[in-house]
């Protein structure tokens, strides 16, 4: 529980036509070589937000090593369900599978529990879009908007203030970014500190998870007026700089 309250914040907001997840990456230091990171790839950007199944994405807070192990377990559970029933696993069932595992470690002696809280954002035909939260003890609950990690008290009160019933996914994105910018330590948001993902329906009514890559995150921040201002101007070459 201690590790979770120090972990980078993860926010999830549910809307009628999609779910939005955002996570704060704790930058370890300037010298950490991130060039090898698989930023924004199909399976997730590798640190806080993961694709569990084609209809579920999750954000994690806590001990990263434990989280990786849980994500692996969740992906296997989802594929097992697909094998047996030829359908994407219902979101609550996937949350339940993980919570059964987590609960087991609170009961039997000798091993420590998983130090991870997760947010699950998903879609299934039973309850459409859903957002769940689970903690290390194996409790889980459904939410309209929630967050885990450091400063979650501040973020929760901001979400309570600004969440509206029947919010659209576009408004949910804006709300998440706003809350994120107010709760994070740094003054300006950027792709090096932020992970972002949405789950919506595509044209054929199938769930479509989109985990943003760094360039897309920066573009999104610019669009909502939260990105770095001067850097964009400095990067653009002045006309006089052109050389043949």
């Amino acid at each position: 529980m201690e590790a979770i309250s120090h972990a980078g914040i993860v926010i999830g907001v549910l809307s009628k036509d999609g779910v939005v997840l955002a996570a704060e990456k704790k930058v370890t230091g300037k010298l950490l070589d991130m060039s090898g990171a698989t930023g924004g790839s199909y399976g997730g950007s590798g640190e806080k937000i993961f694709l569990l199944n084609s209809n579920v994405i999750s954000g994690v807070a806590g001990i990263t090593a434990d989280a990786n192990s849980l994500v692996n377990y969740a992906r296997q559970a989802a594929q097992r369900h697909l094998f047996s029933y030829n359908e994407d696993i219902p979101v609550e069932l996937l949350a339940q599978r993980l919570c059964d595992l987590k609960q087991g470690y609170t009961q039997y002696g000798g091993l420590r529990p998983f130090g991870v809280s997760l947010l699950y954002a998903g879609y299934d035909p039973h309850y459409q879009f859903q957002l769940y939260h689970s903690d290390p003890s194996g409790n889980y609950s459904g939410w309209k908007a929630t967050c885990i990690g450091a400063n979650n008290g501040t973020a929760t009160s901001l979400l309570k203030q600004d969440y509206k019933e029947d919010i659209s996914v576009e408004d949910a994105i804006e709300l998440v970014l706003k809350v994120m910018s107010k709760t994070m330590d740094s003054t300006t948001l950027g792709s090096e500190k932020l992970e972002f993902a949405t789950l919506t329906l595509d044209a054929s009514k199938q769930p479509k998870a989109k985990i943003y890559n760094p360039a897309e995150i920066d573009a999104l921040l610019q669009k909502h007026g939260l990105g770095k201002k001067e850097e964009g101007d400095a990067a653009a070459p002045a006309p006089g700089d052109l050389t043949l």
Binding site: Y85, N86, E87
Partner: protein, 194 residues
């Protein structure tokens, strides 16, 4: 000698099966129910080797029920049919396989659509608008090809089924005298007289 039919229509599936239980040339029973109600919106007609049929049907029935108790919601018809097919396919590769043929019909309450699956003892499954197993299939499929309408009302659907039963009565050497007919739609499962 079991005969079973099923057809879909506008928001419903009709499943019919004869009610005779025979051994060799002797009729032992004429009120056997060969259609199991697996869940509030799921039906399964079974036929094949006597003994295997009931054993397998009860195994499926109880496992579908177990899933419903363990998890908050019932399996939807496509998932249930996939799981049933898997059970048959696994059985086929065991020491003594079940020889059971099935028609699985259900109404999906989350997408509001009827579904019908034709499954045989080899683990073949296909989603179809109408289906039949047994000797009845030889007479009924051509009729269903001609008269089946996916948008038909329940009355019209039952009339089409009636045609099939009449044709079997007219042409088949040994005809079953009675059929049990069950309908599944948005209100659940009910038995109808024909």
């Amino acid at each position: 000698m079991d005969i079973s039919f099923a057809l879909t229509g506008k928001g419903y599936v009709i499943v019919a099966a004869d009610t005779t239980a025979a051994r060799s040339i002797v009729k032992m029973k004429v009120d056997e129910d060969k259609i199991k109600v697996l869940s509030p919106h799921l039906l399964m007609a079974f036929s094949g080797e006597p003994g295997d049929t009931v054993q397998f049907a009860e195994y499926i029935e109880r496992n579908i029920r177990l899933y419903q108790i363990r998890n908050t919601y019932a399996l939807r018809p496509p998932s249930a049919a996939s799981w049933i097919r898997r059970a048959l396919a696994d059985s086929l590769r065991s020491r003594r396989p079940y020889s059971v043929n099935l028609l699985v019909g259900g109404y999906d309450t989350s997408t509001h659509t009827p579904h019908l699956y034709w499954v045989d003892y080899l683990g073949t499954m296909s989603e179809v608008p109408f289906a039949a197993h047994g000797y009845g299939a030889y007479f009924a499929l051509s009729l269903l090809d001609r008269y089946h309408d996916p948008e038909a009302s329940l009355e019209d659907g039952l009339a089409t089924l009636r045609r099939c039963l009449d044709e079997v009565a007219k042409r088949l050497v040994v005809t079953p005298e009675k059929y049990k007919v069950k309908v599944v739609d948005k209100d659940g499962v009910r038995e109808v007289e024909i």
